[in-house]
Amino acid sequence: MNAPAHTAVPIKVLVTKVGLDGHDRGSRLVANALRDAGMEVVYTGPWQSIPAVIKLATEEDVDLIGISSLATDHLIVPQLMAALREAGLGDVPVIVGGIVPDDDERMLLESGVARVYHPGSALATIAADVTELCTTARQGVPA
């Protein structure tokens, strides 16, 4: 599958992990799937600090940020959302995938996260959602 024809520049996505954990099966699978779907993927190792994510997102001018969390690191994602807004990147959609309990999912969505993916999510669904979120964001419509 290739990027949508109307997208002149391929969609560029940052796939990363913040916090302390290093389990990366999920992030590697998602990064692979997005690449197979024709997107450009910037992939980092684990333990990124929030300022490091902001810096990378700015330098690489990514369309979307994907955060993978297995062991509660998603709890600091609201801080990432605030930092993105502060850095003028409030229009970059953020998605989170991993072990996210229900209460935390609500908290993440309220903080501005666009989508939360749980175990069992199909890679095809994630790729389709990312394409849609990025296309919408490029058109200047809030995610």
């Binding site: 290093g22 990366d24 333990w47 309990p101 175990p119 890679l123």
Partner: protein
């Protein structure tokens, strides 16, 4: 089957009987029944196994008896009949006091050994005062100081119970245990247990959270610890080779087994290069595996691994003591197979996984709580997990017969096929120059990643069915999900103050001297670095201070990350 047919069939390699040919025709007429099926390691699974698939004449050579080489049927003569397997539930949450309370509950429920899971911040080797408080104690216990360790194990008879520490090198938790034993007057020779996260190779390739020191430094500290503990704490298992991380990260069961055997060979060769005698350290090597729900494949994986290790230890490592050939392993039911959808179904999955592990001849078992896929396990779910083991032993009678599937045409044939597959992967690693070289080159990481992608593709294509995910999907029922347990913020804040008070009360001169001594030991390749870590801990250094100092001298552990 007629008597005559049975006689013919019992001759391996004999011509198919008339009965067999008739069965072949009959099953071929059933739509789909003979379509090829494969297990997770890629081995074709046939609809039926007969004496044509396994030669019972090789019984004595290939199977033998429990407690005797090649140990296919088990490493001890009496296996689960003589001594129940160790029920070791992994627990860790909140503050040391929270952990102590949970520990007592689980011991009352029948656990026969304890384990300690530290907080993710400890895995990263940083102290709590440098971490976002939101991340503290959510997955394990915040233990930074010898005082924290003493609080966590208060009232627990450390001289009488086996202790599993999830303790990546440089083994600061073990150092704290040794200091605590000294404080209580317990001789180090009385301590039993295992350093469960000593396999830095599995951390470098798979579970990066535990990878703290750069590869060469990691390699050195592990050998230092094996050397020190062999002399000073002889009943402690310094090495647990972890196949679990690799299988969780995507390795097939055969790959995971092969990688662990390669890792054990690598560490043993490193010890031998130090002049150590294999028969001095191999009896204390242990292994740790994932048990997936691929039932027979897992049983065959363990039986094949046990048989192979006996041969490798003898032939490759030159071990002469049969104790060195024994393949001792702990296993954990696989969290990868658990689903967020209809989470109570996970109890059935864990049961099937646990049976596979028991039939595989494990020494120690952790059964996952059904809610692990939702959050850190709750207390109620953890109780069901341990009772699953109790039910299998006491009610289902699974401890009554040793290696009950031994002699099954299918299981024996599959054990042979798995063994061949494992040996093929070992040959690939050997060709790369051994495990250390293979992980430096990224070979192992690539194989694991490819397998993860292939498995996911099977799931998404519907070839691998998962109930509630891509088959038998039911409406989501959030009420089935257990309530979330998180550490109490006030108790955690009080704990942080306790850590701060501990640090403040230390003798600054002694701390500074201990820090310098640690750095000197790191800079001196002839020094035993684990002995230095124990000294530093006794002098009051925190785990974060010790890890930081060693990272400064030996390099930060940066895994090779690849997509």
């Amino acid at each position: 089957m007629s008597g005559a047919a049975r006689d013919r069939a019992s001759t391996p390699g004999a011509r198919p009987t008339d009965d067999m040919e008739r069965w072949e025709q009959e099953i071929a007429a059933v739509p789909g029944a003979t379509d090829p099926r494969h297990n997770r390691s890629g081995i074709e699974v046939k609809p039926l196994y007969t004496p044509h698939d396994w030669d019972a004449g090789r019984y004595e050579a290939d199977l033998g008896y429990p407690g005797q080489p090649p140990f296919t049927r088990g490493i001890y003569p009496s296996m689960h009949r003589g001594r129940r397997w160790t029920q070791r539930q992994l627990i860790g949450l909140g503050t040391p006091t929270d952990y102590n309370r949970r520990l007592r509950t689980i011991l009352d429920a029948g656990a026969t050994a304890i384990s300690l899971i530290p907080c993710n911040s400890v895995y990263r080797g940083v102290d709590a005062d440098t971490v976002d408080p939101l991340l503290l104690g959510t997955c394990g216990t915040v233990i930074n100081t010898p005082q924290d360790f003493a609080d966590a194990l208060e009232g627990i008879p450390i001289e009488r119970i086996s202790i599993g520490l999830n303790d990546p090198l440089p083994f600061t938790l073990l150092a704290q245990l040794l200091v605590e034993a000294k404080r209580r007057g317990v001789p180090w020779t009385a301590l039993r247990g295992t350093s469960n996260q000593s396999d830095y190779i599995s951390h470098y390739v798979a579970n990066h959270m535990f990878f703290r020191l750069a590869l060469p430094g990691s390699r050195r500290v592990l050998v230092d610890a094996i050397d020190f503990l062999g002399r000073e704490v002889p009943n402690w298992n310094p090495l647990s080779v972890v196949g679990q991380h690799m299988q969780q990260a995507g390795a097939t069961p055969a790959q995971a087994m092969a990688f662990t055997l390669c890792t054990a060979l690598q560490v043993a060769e490193d010890c031998k290069a130090r002049g150590m005698d294999p028969d001095a350290f191999l009896p204390r090597f242990t292994f740790f595996y994932d048990i997936s729900i691929s039932f027979f494949e897992e049983i065959a994986k363990f039986r094949a691994g046990r048989r192979l290790w006996a041969r490798l230890a003898r032939e490759r490592l030159g071990a002469r003591d049969p104790k060195s050939w024994r393949f001792k392993f702990h296993a954990q039911t696989s969290g990868i197979d658990l689903t967020r959808q209809q989470p109570l179904n996970n109890i059935a999955r864990v049961t099937a996984q646990a049976i596979a592990g028991l039939f595989g001849g494990l020494q120690s078992l952790h059964t996952d709580a059904y809610d692990e896929v939702l959050s850190t396990p709750t207390e109620a779910a953890a109780r069901i997990a341990i009772n699953t083991q109790n039910i299998l032993r006491e009610e289902a009678g699974l401890a009554d017969v040793i290696d009950p599937l031994g002699g099954s045409f299918y299981v024996e044939s599959l054990t042979e096929r798995m063994q061949a597959e494992i040996e093929a992967v070992i040959a690939e690693v050997d060709a790369a120059g051994g495990m250390y070289a293979a992980i430096e080159q990224g070979l192992v990481q690539r194989m694991i990643g490819d397998s993860a992608v292939a498995f996911q593709a099977r799931v998404e294509a519907g070839e691998q069915k998962i109930v509630g995910v891509n088959a038998y999907v039911a409406p989501d029922r959030p009420e089935e999900r257990a309530p979330l347990e998180r550490p109490d913020p006030e108790r955690m804040a009080a704990h942080l103050e306790r850590i701060a008070a501990f640090k403040a009360a230390r003798d600054a001169t002694a701390v500074s001297a201990a820090n310098d001594a640690l750095a000197r030991a790191a800079d001196d390749p002839g020094a035993n670095l684990f002995a230095a870590v124990v000294d530093a801990t006794a002098a009051g250094l925190t785990q974060g201070e010790i890890v930081a100092r060693l990272q400064e001298r030996l390099g930060f552990g940066q895994p090779l990350v690849m997509v």
